[in-house]
């Protein structure tokens, strides 16, 4: 028996056999000649990719050596790093680019092929197998150069726990939902795409496990605890019994929800509206059972990411119409808030997004849409047409200034005019909102408010931009603090402006589902918390134990702490308050 600890990424307990998903399909590489005079640029591209891969490996090695006592896990990747930096291999590939003017991808493949052939000719099987290390380094380099993402060829005949190095968004959503019990990955963080999707799909997930793919055999039985963030391989009877007891406990704590009151009801009868975040491609039929009162975030970009190209207007229309019709069952006031194409940053689509030096500060989201108006227009047409079938709101992601809202409004008017001309029905009063996730927009919320009907605060990006820290970079992830005083100040300001202007304001970042932080946002006056459906029962259980005046007390506690306290100290104080108020909090969190 072996228990490996990783990051608790999507809650839930599950046990079953392992499906080992190896991303070892060939990455297609075409070879072409580099024009004379450009070989220097191509060489720099190769050098940059090599440096990027080196940095990734170093990060991985750092994390792994901290985690295990003997550092065995890290050693594999130390070997890969040495192969990457091997002087002979480097020279061989560099020469192909500089002297023979072959593109970097093909040069990598040729350079590595030369060694691969030598390995394949070896008599000793143990040595022949070392070719896998070469393959791995090659794959990393080619991925860095091409941005290639794998397409899954998963052949799951019975339900399994998928164990993989890492999974891209498109791989994750293409997996058969009814056959995937859980996810366990070597890499990733609690906010990586596999994490968001696992939560959206309600599938327990543990990430950041390091070498889990090398520690399990296909078919081995594992216990996956997405709440504690552990995976146990080949559990003994005792471990299985303890696990089953935990499952039973979770089941019991869920019972308190079956009292007929809607999700988000407070102890004194008040309520906090809880909506669901939805990914296209993920079935949404269970939203009602989970207690969602509406859909606060429909991530339309996954229509692009799943297919890896722009979906035509009809495809989009069908998707938007389906969710609009569905939400009518959720509650009388239910609506779906469709987020316009939120692309760029770490969400890349081949043929649409281009490589940028600083993608998170680049041509993302509404900026992209305003620079590609035909794409924007097609999406607006599809959304407007769907608005005839259910209540839809639309919001623009990454708004940073008033100009963008004005320009988007012009496009919206043009599209409405087109539809009028064609006699197509749609909701003429469709509410348009702004996502507040750029600090400039938060500070300037009062001006932005003049151009919209609601705010939706995207805390993932707002925290990342306020702290200037990439949430997925393990080296700086400690700076990513949703309860940092600067973040709280911005949140308070935005919510206050919205409340004063009677503009509905929701929070749709992952922090909304966090029992400590999400409750804080609710206490500060947000109208809606929107989260992955899996987390709705958990949030409901917590809110069911608190009264409106508890929430006031909680808010005062957090906001009064701005005298040199750190974000983590504020978070700790909040947690202690919550533990005092709800003595059995730990049981609820299972």
């Amino acid at each position: 028996m072996l228990t490996i600890a990783g990051l608790a990424t999507a809650r839930g307990l599950v046990s079953g056999p392992v499906y080992l998903y190896r991303g070892d399909e060939d990455i297609p590489v075409s070879e072409y000649a580099i024009p004379v005079g450009r070989e220097g640029d191509e060489f720099m591209r190769l050098k940059k990719a090599t440096a990027d891969v080196g940095r990734d490996l170093e990060t991985l090695i750092g994390v792994l050596s901290e985690r295990s006592k003997d550092g065995q896990d890290a050693k594999v990747f130390e070997g890969h790093l040495m192969i990457l930096e091997d002087p002979i291999l480097k020279k061989e590939i560099g020469k192909l680019v500089v002297e023979r003017r072959i593109n970097a991808e093909a040069a990598v493949k040729r350079g590595i092929d030369k060694f691969r052939k030598q390995f394949q000719r070896m008599n000793d099987e143990y040595f022949r197998e070392r070719v896998r290390d070469l393959d791995d380094v090659e794959r990393r380099l080619l991925r860095a150069l091409t941005g290639f993402t794998r397409s899954p060829h998963l052949d799951l005949s019975s339900p399994c726990i998928v164990v993989a190095d890492d999974l891209t968004p498109s791989e994750t959503v293409q997996l058969p939902r009814d056959k995937v019990l859980g996810f366990a990955t070597n890499g990733g963080s609690t906010t990586s795409h596999v994490a968001l999707l696992a939560r959206a799909m309600g599938i327990p997930c543990v990430t950041g496990l390091g070498c889990v793919t090398q520690k399990v055999r296909p078919g081995a039985i594992v216990l996956l605890d997405g709440t504690a963030g552990t995976i146990t391989v080949d559990p003994d009877e005792q471990a299985i019994a303890a696990f089953e007891a935990l499952v039973q406990k979770q089941h019991e704590s869920e019972q308190i929800l079956h009292d007929g009151k809607p999700a988000g009801t407070l102890k004194d009868g008040g309520e906090v509206k809880i909506f669901a975040n939805v990914h296209p491609g993920v079935p949404f039929g269970a939203l009602k059972d989970m207690g969602a009162r509406g859909v606060g975030l429909y991530r339309s970009e996954y229509l692009w990411l799943n297919g890896e190209k722009e979906p035509d207007e009809e495809t989009q229309f069908e998707a938007y119409k389906a969710i609009a019709e569905y939400v009518r069952n959720l509650s009388p006031e239910a609506h779906v808030t469709i987020r316009a194409l939120d692309i760029g940053g770490d969400k890349t689509v081949r043929g649409i997004t281009v490589k940028e030096n600083n993608p998170f500060l680049g041509n993302r989201s509404i900026r992209y849409l305003l620079s590609a108006k035909d794409v924007f227009r097609r999406q607006l047409r599809a959304i407007l047409r769907a608005s005839a079938f259910g209540r839809i709101k639309i919001m623009y992601p990454m708004v940073s200034c008033v100009e963008e809202m004005r320009e988007a409004a012009v496009v919206m008017e043009e599209v409405k005019h087109e539809l009028d001309e064609a006699g197509v029905k749609y909701d003429r009063e469709i509410p348009v909102g702004a996502m507040i996730e750029v600090p400039a927009a938060a500070i300037n919320a009062r001006a932005i408010a003049k151009y919209c009907k609601f705010f939706s605060i995207g805390t993932n990006d707002l925290v990342q931009y306020t702290m200037a820290a990439d949430r997925s970079n393990e080296e700086v992830a400690h700076l990513y603090q949703p309860t940092h005083p600067a973040v709280l100040t911005l949140m308070q300001h935005v919510i206050k402006v919205a409340n004063e202007l009677q503009l509905p304001v929701s929070v749709c970042g992952e922090s909304a589902s966090d029992p400590i932080v999400g409750v804080l946002w609710a206490s500060m006056g947000t109208d809606v918390l929107s989260m992955s459906a899996t987390y709705i029962p958990l949030m409901s259980k917590i809110l069911r134990r608190l009264t409106r005046s508890d929430l006031d007390e909680y808010r005062e506690l957090a906001l009064s702490m701005n005298n040199g306290e750190t974000g983590n100290e504020i978070l700790d104080a909040c947690r202690r308050w919550m533990e005092r108020k709800i003595p059995d909090l730990e049981t609820l969190l299972i």
Partner: protein, 93 residues
């Protein structure tokens, strides 16, 4: 300038696979001298993990290690010690 050759026998269980080759290359690279390794007539660069792995040297293989340069002596001492310690790999002692 000194050019020295020593015959060293691999003692660790799995021979010159990724980590031993990496440690060998890393050790050799600390010195200015040129390092070459010969096994069964194959001669490869001693500062390259890839080249060393292609030797297909398993436990018990005899490597002819040649160092050429001012610090050849220290370099070979260091390499010989590394091989003697079975590359400090716990599972292969």
């Amino acid at each position: 300038m000194a050019k020295i050759t020593r015959e060293l026998t691999l003692l660790n269980k799995y021979g010159m696979h990724v980590r031993p080759a990496g440690l060998f290359a890393k050790t050799a690279s600390k010195y200015d001298c040129d390092v070459e390794v010969e096994k069964d007539g194959n001669v490869v660069a001693g500062k390259s993990i890839m080249a060393l792995m292609t030797l297909e040297a398993s436990c018990g293989s005899v490597l002819k290690v040649t160092a050429d340069g001012d610090d050849a002596e220290e370099c070979l001492d260091d390499i010989a010690a590394l091989i003697g310690r079975k590359f400090d790999i716990p599972d292969e002692q």
